[in-house]
């Protein structure tokens, strides 16, 4: 059953449209992330759920109750800010208990709940400290506990890990997810970090220029981006120019070599030029089994990226004499890995399912694959 619902939500600041026609239905206990670049409207949408901004149009409901125009202090929504926003004049315990005190709870109830939350965030002995006496990670844990203390219907997190260093970010990410699962609280998480969004969320809302580009599970978003923007924003992607040889059977010509897609090309006609997208990790060294697309090219560059090695392959010039098409492929960095030399001619391969066609004008991928069947297949 839908718990948090945004219907046709829009926000304009003067002539500037910050959010346009935003529709989302989140289930109770679901973890939804808003992912997008700066200025895409994700924080504005979050602030509208919190009540800090009033939508220009549309409706926001929580558990069936319309909260579109309710003041923020009358919504039961907890919020965690990027800058922690702990009250500097209050101790950690007082910060966590602030919302309960405002609600007129007894001192004993407040103390009990604060102790419980301090234990949950692994800071049981820090109740008497002031925020400035804590590290950034500890402060953000306290901010999370403070937001959870009031037992909110919805928890909102606005880039909560952006100000922290990489190691703490990963630790805290896991803790946030564990606490969210433990409490079963409906959560909306805003981030521009795709790794964060993909690793934390049940569903990801990818946004650009105030619009939703795609809503889907991390698997769907990563493997089946529905727009050029999503394809280019999430993960690393080869975007190469190809000619449509036969739209009906999904046959394309890439730098004079044939490539097949799993689906017929519907966004362009035979003879059109299209953009072919394929992820570097979808391409393997060698010819691979029968039925795969095979491409020959010259190794241009080899980069070690830690756990993976990225090779750049020049596929040769196009028919009109333009620059050669370059393709990147990633392979796991293992001790017994044998790599080709720079300048060597090699064959690489990838299955038709690994590539998809973006329309000649950057349109949608069509048709939409059967995600459920594919996920089942992937699990099997």
């Amino acid at each position: 059953m839908t718990f948090l619902e945004l219907t046709g939500v829009q926000k304009h600041f003067g002539d500037v449209a910050a959010v346009l026609d935003f529709n989302l239905a989140a289930e109770r206990g679901e973890f939804v992330s808003f992912l997008g670049p700066s200025g895409c409207g994700k924080t504005t949408t979050l602030r509208m759920i919190a009540g800090f901004e009033i939508p220009t149009a549309g409706r926001i409901t929580v558990d069936g109750a319309d909260i579109t125009r309710k003041p923020p202090n009358q919504r039961n929504v907890g919020m965690v800010f990027q800058s922690y926003a702990l009250f500097p004049n209050l101790t950690v315990a007082d910060n966590i208990g602030f919302g309960l005190k405002v609600r007129g709870k007894s001192s004993a109830d407040i103390r009990k709940r604060v102790d419980e939350l301090l234990g949950m965030i692994n800071l049981p002995d820090r109740g008497n400290r002031y925020p400035y006496q804590l590290s950034g990670g500890q402060q953000q844990r306290v901010a999370l506990a403070r937001a959870l203390a009031i037992e909110p219907q919805v928890l909102l997190l606005d880039e909560p890990l952006s100000a922290l260093d990489a190691k703490i970010r990963i630790t805290l990410r896991k803790e946030i997810r564990a606490i969210q699962r433990q409490l079963g609280i409906t959560t909306v998480y805003v981030t521009h970090d795709q790794e964060e969004a993909l690793s934390l969320s049940d569903r990801v809302v990818v946004m650009s220029d105030g619009r939703i580009e795609q809503i889907g599970t991390p698997f769907e978003i990563y493997n089946y981006p529905s727009t050029t923007f999503v394809a280019s924003f999430v993960g690393t992607l080869n975007l190469v120019d190809a000619g449509v040889v036969d739209a009906g059977t999904g046959r394309l010509s890439l730098a004079g070599q044939e490539v097949r897609t799993a689906q017929p090309v519907t966004s362009a006609a035979t003879g059109d030029r299209v953009t072919l997208a394929v992820r570097p990790e979808g391409i393997d060294l060698g010819e691979g089994p029968e039925g795969r697309n095979r491409l020959r090219g010259q190794v241009e560059d080899i980069n070690f990226l830690g756990s993976i090695v990225r090779l750049r392959l020049a596929l040769g010039g196009t028919a009109d004499g333009s620059a050669p098409t370059t393709l990147a492929l990633d392979t796991f960095n293992e001790p017994h890995l044998t790599l080709p030399a720079v300048g060597e001619q090699i064959t690489v391969s990838f299955p038709p399912e690994a590539c998809f066609v973006l329309g000649a004008t950057g349109g949608h991928v069509a048709p939409t694959p059967d995600f459920a069947a594919m996920e089942d297949g992937a699990t099997a």
């Binding site: 923020p72 800058s83 926003a85 602030f98 405002v102 280019s232 992607l237 370059t326």
Partner: protein, 291 residues
């Protein structure tokens, strides 16, 4: 073309070493006692500040026996009554100023930041309008019905407080505004709102406690102005410290010099109190950024 992913590039060999060596070569040795010019400026400043005090002290000591000007001033009943009156008026002024300016400055910063230049201009008006103009305006406006403030002592004192609120506006507003600037009031407000707090709770529980040092600075500056103020108090015929000092200077010049130094000492004590309270402050505004 490949989009997304990390940009990789070879690290220049010896890059770290070259940075380290350049840092070492460009680091200047620290001067232990600062530059000579800084000392010249410091000595001129201290001289400008100290010489009048020494002269005043020397003048006050001409009355024999030694320190009799001070003992006479301190035993003068008018000294304590006028100082007490001015102090009470000053405290009321400070309390009303805080009640008026904190919500105003907070609201302007939070909701209408575009109006800040206008509000700042208004708060600077007391520097442009002389106190004598202000007090004549007040007397003309409030010495007749429907608001005959000057008909009673309490009314005149109220008028004096209102005038002092105006006169201390630049100092109080600037102190509070600087205090608000030092904290992220928008995020703190939103955090409190999301926890269920209303405006009154936010101002009393969150904003005011975090403005403690700024409020103390503004309060002591206002208090210093009120205690030494002469024009408004004299024209409203109030038994304040400024008119008392003026009266004393006309008849007993040695005692007047002594009283000046005493009031100066009291002001300094107040400043030291601010610095002690400020240093002991447990609140530090550290929003954003990992430690």
């Amino acid at each position: 073309m490949t989009v997304g992913g990390p940009a990789i590039g070879p690290r220049a060999p010896g890059a770290l070493e070259s940075v380290a060596s350049s840092t070492a070569t460009t680091r200047r040795p620290r001067r232990r006692f600062g530059s000579p010019w800084a000392w010249v400026v410091f000595i001129i400043g201290v001289t400008y500040f100290i010489v009048p005090l020494i002269a005043t002290f020397e003048f006050s000591m001409r009355k024999k026996p030694a320190f009799s000007a001070y003992s006479d001033a301190l035993t003068n009943p008018g000294f304590w009554s006028s100082l007490g009156y001015s102090f009470i008026v000053g405290v009321i002024t400070v309390v009303l100023s805080i009640a008026l300016i904190v919500p105003t400055a907070y609201w302007v910063r939070l909701r209408v930041p575009r109006l800040r230049p206008l509000v700042e201009l208004v708060t600077l008006l007391p520097f442009v309008i002389p106190p004598v103009v202000l007090v004549f305006g007040l007397i003309r406006a409030y010495s007749r019905p429907p608001l005959p403030f000057t008909y009673t002592d309490i009314g005149s004192t109220a008028l004096l407080v209102f005038a002092y609120i105006v006169l201390s506006l630049p100092y109080m507003y600037r102190s509070i505004d600087a205090g608000l600037r030092a904290m992220d009031i928008r995020t703190l407000t939103e955090a409190a709102q999301s926890l269920g707090a209303g405006w009154f709770t936010i101002i009393v529980k969150i904003i005011l406690p975090n403005l403690r040092v700024a409020l103390l600075s503004g309060a002591f500056l206002s208090l210093a102005i009120v205690i030494g103020e002469f024009t408004v108090a004299a024209y409203l015929v109030r038994p304040a410290f400024g008119p008392f000092l003026n009266l004393l200077g006309g008849s007993r010049s040695y005692e007047a010099a002594a009283v000046s130094l005493i009031s100066f000492g009291l002001t300094w004590l107040a400043m030291i109190a601010i610095s002690i309270v400020g240093r002991g402050s447990r609140t530090r505004i550290t929003l954003a950024g990992a430690r």
